[in-house]
Amino acid sequence: MRKFGMKRAIVGAAIAALALNAPAAHAASATGTATAKILRQITLTNISALQYATIISGASASTVAVSTAGVRTCGASLSCLGTATAASFNVDGTEGAVVLVGGDSSVSLAGSLGGTMTSSLTYSAANITLGATGGSFQVGGTLSVGANQAAGDYTGTFNVTADYQ
C-alpha cells in the first residue's frame, strides 16, 4: 500500500515538471540546474461497492439497510444472504487538506426480469480532513423491497464526488 502511494507521488511530480514546461529545461546552463514544481494532487479510489447482496422478498413490503459501517439490517419478512458491504472510497492528497464529499441521496434500480426498486443513500461524512495516509469515506443506504418483489439482478448507478473548495 505504502509503496503504491510513493509511486503515485513520484509520477505526479514527473508529470508536473512536464506539464509546466519548466524554463530551466530550455536554458543551456553550464551549471545544470534542475527545477521541478510539485503540484498538489488529489486521488479518489473506489475500495468496495455498496452491496446488499442477495435478498429473498416476502409477502409484505420491507426494507434492508446497510450502515456506513457495513452492517446490514434485514427487515421483517425478508431473508438476506451473502455478505453486505458499504461502498468505501479512499482520498489521498496534501496532509491536512479538507475535502468535501457527497453525492446522490437516492438511486433507482432496474431488474433484469422487470421491476424496479429505490434505495436511499447515506454518507459517513460531509467533509474529511486528510491525514498523513489520506482519508476515506463510506456510503450506506436503505433499500425498499416491495411485497413479492420480482426476482432478478437489479442494477443502478449513483454519483459520488470529492470536491476541493
Partner: protein, 276 residues
Amino acid sequence: MLRFFKGFGLLSVVLLGVVTVPVQAAGDLLVAPTRVVLDGSRGTEVVLNNIGAEPATYRISLEIKRMTAVGGLDEIAEENATPAERTALGMIAFSPRRVTLPPNQPQVIRVGVRIPEGTPPGEYRAHMLFRAVPDAAAAVAADAAKPAATGVSIALIPIYGITIPVIVRVGDLGAEAVIGDAWVAETPDGPAFNFGLTRTGNRSVYGDIEVTRPGANEPLLRARGIAVYPEVGAREVSLRVPPELAAKLKGPVRIRYTEDREVGGGTIDEAERVVK
C-alpha cells in the same frame, strides 16, 4: 427431476450472493493541481491520471456550485444559474473533454480563459469535474435462463469523480475574513470542531487554519484549503476530530487563518477564543 430443480434453485441463490460481490467500477483517478486561479492573461494546465488497474474513459466538464452557510457546495442546474455564473461557464475553455486512458497514463487538460470586453470586475468561478464514464457492459442483460426463482441480487455502481474550482478574477479585487465563535459539538459521526468565518469584499478568501493552545508550539489542529466564496458572507467550518482531540480543544485557543503558502502565507485573521 423436481428435486433436482429445487436443489438447483437453492444453489443458484447462494451462488448469486457470492458471484455478484466484486462489482468493482473502473475509474480511479488523480487530479493535479487542486485549485486553479486565473487572471485572464494566460491559461494553465491540469493533469488527469488513470490510477486504476483497468483502462477508463473520463469526461471533463464544468459545473456550477454554490457554497452553503455550513460550507457545503451545492450543485446548481444550468437553467438555475445566475448571469455571473453563466459568464464564468462562457469564459473558461478547456480541452480535451473526453479521454480514454490506459492505467497509469497521465493526460494534460489545457485550460484557457477569454474575458469578454465589458465584463464587470469580480470573481467568476466554475468547478471542473473529472469523472469516469461507466462501462456500458456493466448493465446486466435479461437472462430468462437464470433460475433466480425467489432471489433478488443487487449491484449498485458508483460513478465517482473529483471537482476542483477554476477561478477567474477580473479587475482589482480584495477581501477580508474574520474568525467568529468556536465550539466543539457532537455529530452523528462523532465530535466536530466548529467555528464561524465572516467574509467582506468582492472576492473569495482561501487559506489554512491552525488551532494552537497558548504557550504550546505544535498546533492541536491543522486544516488546509478552507474557502469562503463570494456568494456567502459567512460560513461555518465544521471539522470532525477524534474524541481525544475534541477534549483537548476545549478551553482557550488561538485560531489563525492564513493565506495559502503558494501566495505568501500571510495572516488573514487571528483570534483568541475559548472553545465551549
